[in-house]
Symmetry: C2
Subunit: 247 residues, 2 copies
């Protein structure tokens, strides 16, 4: 039976979502717990995509097959009783055998949190502490140029070589917290994101907010198809995979 | 020269504020950093009071004397460049030689955060995850009975033996977050709090919210002067020393 789970996690203590030689990944924790539940028969999981070390998730989606019979509700409970406290299964459903958590993605939403106010040690792993005023009006203008279908090669990792860098950003938002105007959240809803793409976009937006670039410069940066033209890569701690949508 | 600093800290990785045999306390970190700044001459600090392991502070107040000459602004900068990222000096002023961060306290404010909604792994060290609905109206009624001058012996640690358990709670509040009604913050402004007092008060309020006690039972619990009559001790993670006020 194939299951799809929605998980939230605090990425700050892990080496990212995806399995790797050094271990200590979200995927390792999920597979260890599921193998235990599956009468010790090894379980492999497939996620909607990776998240880097320090990046958090509110609704990462993951599918896997189990040999045992268990209801989705009982599976959710069993997983949450065995997983570490910084990973939580929010939802579990059974899906058809041809459903795939990565290949069937229709859209994904990421959010990035910035604190322009005083440094807060309690939020250091959860919000990017910029601690200076940014020109958020200019940032929002630049953000809106990113909506639509573009070649985002300038915003990928320099060593990310592929045939197709074209992605569609369906909607963006820049929201200031009503209770704390120094808290800014930038959101991106898109058909797909390449590695470091959101962090490179946010880093460039921050440098636009600093006045290093103008909002219209983002058009030239997009057209350059060259990572060196874009701005810095923003810290992982402010980034959250908020949701994944399927066909 | 005597200095008074206001510090914020994430208490989740420390064995509380106050120095102890096992080490790894906020006080240790402050004294190590200040001794370094003070040309390696040992500095001892005095705080407004201790906070337990896992308890956070938004404005803990601490005084100390230095042999070297340094402006408060430069001292703040020097401390923040040397302190670990989970302790932050928000403010630094020079004070008269007879000022004392503990003896001169006029009032203190604590807040306690409770999440009655879905478990959130990202906030596990910063909010008490209750994850069930509480009768907050009944809790607020009970909270109001705590205002005024009372003998709080029932809400102290069982092994806390002293002459005087009388304290004054000046003001209390129970606030539900406008954007998330499952987030409840309880605040206490008082002339002084004994060890575990706020956590024992909150634990009892939570059990009133569960229906284990009625709001009026809190009057009988106060009058019993007996720790065994009160409710549980609430988890440290939800508690913040919000502010300390001086004469």
């Amino acid at each position: 039976m194939r299951y799809l789970i929605s998980i939230a996690y605090d990425g700050s203590k892990y080496n990212g979502y995806q399995k790797q030689v050094q271990g200590n990944t979200i995927q390792d924790k999920l597979e260890d717990v599921l193998t235990n539940i599956n009468d010790k028969k090894r379980v492999s999981v497939s996620a909607s995509g990776r998240t880097d070390s320090g990046v958090h998730a509110l609704n990462q989606k993951v599918h896997f097959d189990l040999n045992i019979k268990i209801t989705p509700d009982n599976l959710k409970r069993a997983m949450n009783s065995l997983l570490p406290k910084d990973i939580y299964v929010r939802d579990c459903v059974s899906v058809s055998d041809d459903f795939h958590a990565r290949f069937d993605v229709k859209a994904k939403e990421y959010i990035y949190k910035i604190n322009m106010g005083e440094y807060n040690p309690i939020e250091k792993d959860y919000i990017y502490q910029y601690c200076k005023k940014l020109d958020v009006v200019e940032m929002e203008r630049a953000l809106k140029y990113l909506e639509g279908t573009h070649d985002f090669k300038s915003f990928t990792s320099g060593d990310d070589v592929r045939d197709d860098y074209v992605r569609t950003i369906i909607q963006t938002n820049l929201i200031r917290d009503l209770k704390n105007v120094n808290m800014v959240t930038i959101s991106f809803l898109g058909t797909g994101f390449m590695r470091y793409m959101v962090r490179n976009l946010v880093g460039t937006l921050i440098q636009i907010g600093e006045g290093k670039y103008k909002s219209t410069d983002i058009i030239n940066i997009l057209e350059a198809h060259d990572r060196r033209k874009a701005g810095m890569c923003a810290d992982a701690c402010g980034l959250y995979l908020k949701d994944v949508f399927y066909r």
